[in-house]
């Protein structure tokens, strides 16, 4: 694994996430070999850091997020989120995190505001706080006027933006974003990037999975490039680009694997 100098965790800052030799294997079907979705990865994410998991589809990014958020059990290895173990202290983790899954994951028969309120209530937030925060987030992403409309009538981009608002309603310490801008046009994507940039300023720890090189470069303090379930490089985008003498993170991936990230997508 290629590791830049910046990837070494500082003792002065705490780690929001610590992952040690994490593995997730699925049994192969009909005599096939086991599928190693995550194959012994280790990394740390510092408090307040914007950390990216960059790699092609099927690299193991979503599986890693699933384990860290309690949606999947690891085959081996350990991980902590906010200092809590992902296997034995999940109930504590759920109080401090939020997830924006890859799928829309919204109730189509509810309006935008009803979806937000539903998830705010599941976090036991006071009604007044939910409404205040919802109004602020809806206005920031330009969905305020559509808040009372059923999600069924939203465009793909609006659903993605609403999904992001739902993920932020509980003001989480640690936010997991799984491919949050997939399917958005360039303008909407830029708007979300700006929005996420503002969120980062609030000292939130954000873990983002993406296969968009420009997204990782624009937003992330550090990235782990992941391929076939393994981390093949980790560091700040700038460091990785300089160390490999290439123009962008795509170049880093190409140099290490001989393939392009977007191949096979």
């Amino acid at each position: 694994m290629v590791q830049s100098k910046e990837s070494v965790g500082s003792d002065l800052i705490g780690n929001s996430i610590e992952v040690q030799d994490l593995k997730k294997h699925y049994k192969g079907k009909r005599g096939m070999d086991d599928v190693k979705a995550v194959d012994g990865i280790s990394f740390q994410v510092r408090d307040g850091e914007f950390f990216g998991l960059l790699g092609p589809n099927g690299a193991g990014k979503t599986t890693t997020i699933s384990i860290l958020t309690g949606n999947s059990r690891p085959t081996d290895g350990s991980a902590t989120v906010g200092g809590y173990d992902v296997q034995s202290e999940l109930h504590n983790i759920k109080e401090i995190i939020s997830v924006c899954p890859q799928e829309f994951s919204l109730y189509k028969f509810l309006s935008g505001i009803e979806n937000i309120k539903f998830f705010g209530d599941l976090h036991s937030m006071p009604k007044k706080k939910i409404m205040e925060r919802a109004e602020k987030l809806l206005k920031l992403l330009g969905l305020y006027d559509a808040r009372k409309r059923n999600v069924k009538g939203y465009s793909g981009g609006m659903k993605r933006q609403l999904s992001l608002i739902v993920a932020l309603i509980n003001d989480p310490d640690i936010l997991f974003l799984d491919e949050p801008t997939v399917g958005m046009d360039a303008r909407a994507r830029r708007k979300v990037w700006e929005f996420l940039g503002d969120i980062k300023k609030q000292n939130k720890t954000i873990i983002l999975t993406t296969h968009y090189i420009e997204e990782a470069e624009a937003l992330c303090d550090r990235v782990a490039i992941i391929d076939y379930g393994k981390i093949i490089a980790i560091g700040s985008p700038k460091q990785l680009i300089e160390e490999h003498g290439v123009n962008d993170l795509e170049g880093v991936f190409l140099k290490i694997t001989g393939r392009r990230i977007l191949e096979g997508i």
Partner: protein, 254 residues
Amino acid sequence: MKIKRVFTVVKMELKRMFSDPLSLIFTMLLVPVLILLFGLMMGDSYGWDPTETYSVFDIMFPGFLAYGSLLTIYDVAASVAGERELGIQKRINTTPLTSAEYILAQMISYTVKPLVQFALGFGIGYAVGYRPTVGIVSYLLVILFLVLLTFSSVGFGLITSNMAKSAGAAGGLAFVFIVPQQLFATFIPAAFMGAESFAWIFPSYYATEGIGWLFAGALSTDPGYILGKLSILLAISVVIYTIGIILYEYKKKS
């Protein structure tokens, strides 16, 4: 367990039910319409009872009430599998909502429909001549039988949702649990079909038998029989429900 979270989910499930009024009206009216049709057609037919005390409709009526609860299997299976398909379950799993809270909410919300069906069905049944002369306790026990049957149906629904990969498949698979119960232990009492030797495995058998005998006044003549059926239904429902929860938990983290 936080009750506020349970009722947040109940409220959402009720909104889901009312989001498709046409389908809601159809499912709500299914049982009352069956009762109306069979009441008009067979209210005066005594072919099944040599003593001519009970008409064919009288004998079938308890099964119609139980049928409303059986349809819960389909509702739960399709909604949970659908949520999984859309990634909603994944998002819910990352909130503080526990499985116990989620499943309790499912139970509460899916009991509403059979109870409304019971009220409508009983009203129609009364109008077409089904008028059991039993006390309030018998009626309360009838409701308890229906609630317990719904309880087991939620369990079957959760089991089905874990076996299916999509909402469509779950809906189809639900009928594997609905149809045998409907045919051999609901519409026509098992004893009339000679099906008692295997109908005992179906929760609906105990509900239909219990409700039928309650309406026949068995609470005063043979309360032990009623309590026996109630206890067995309770035990079966708890087992099915527990299996449903275990499978739901397993699927959640697999």
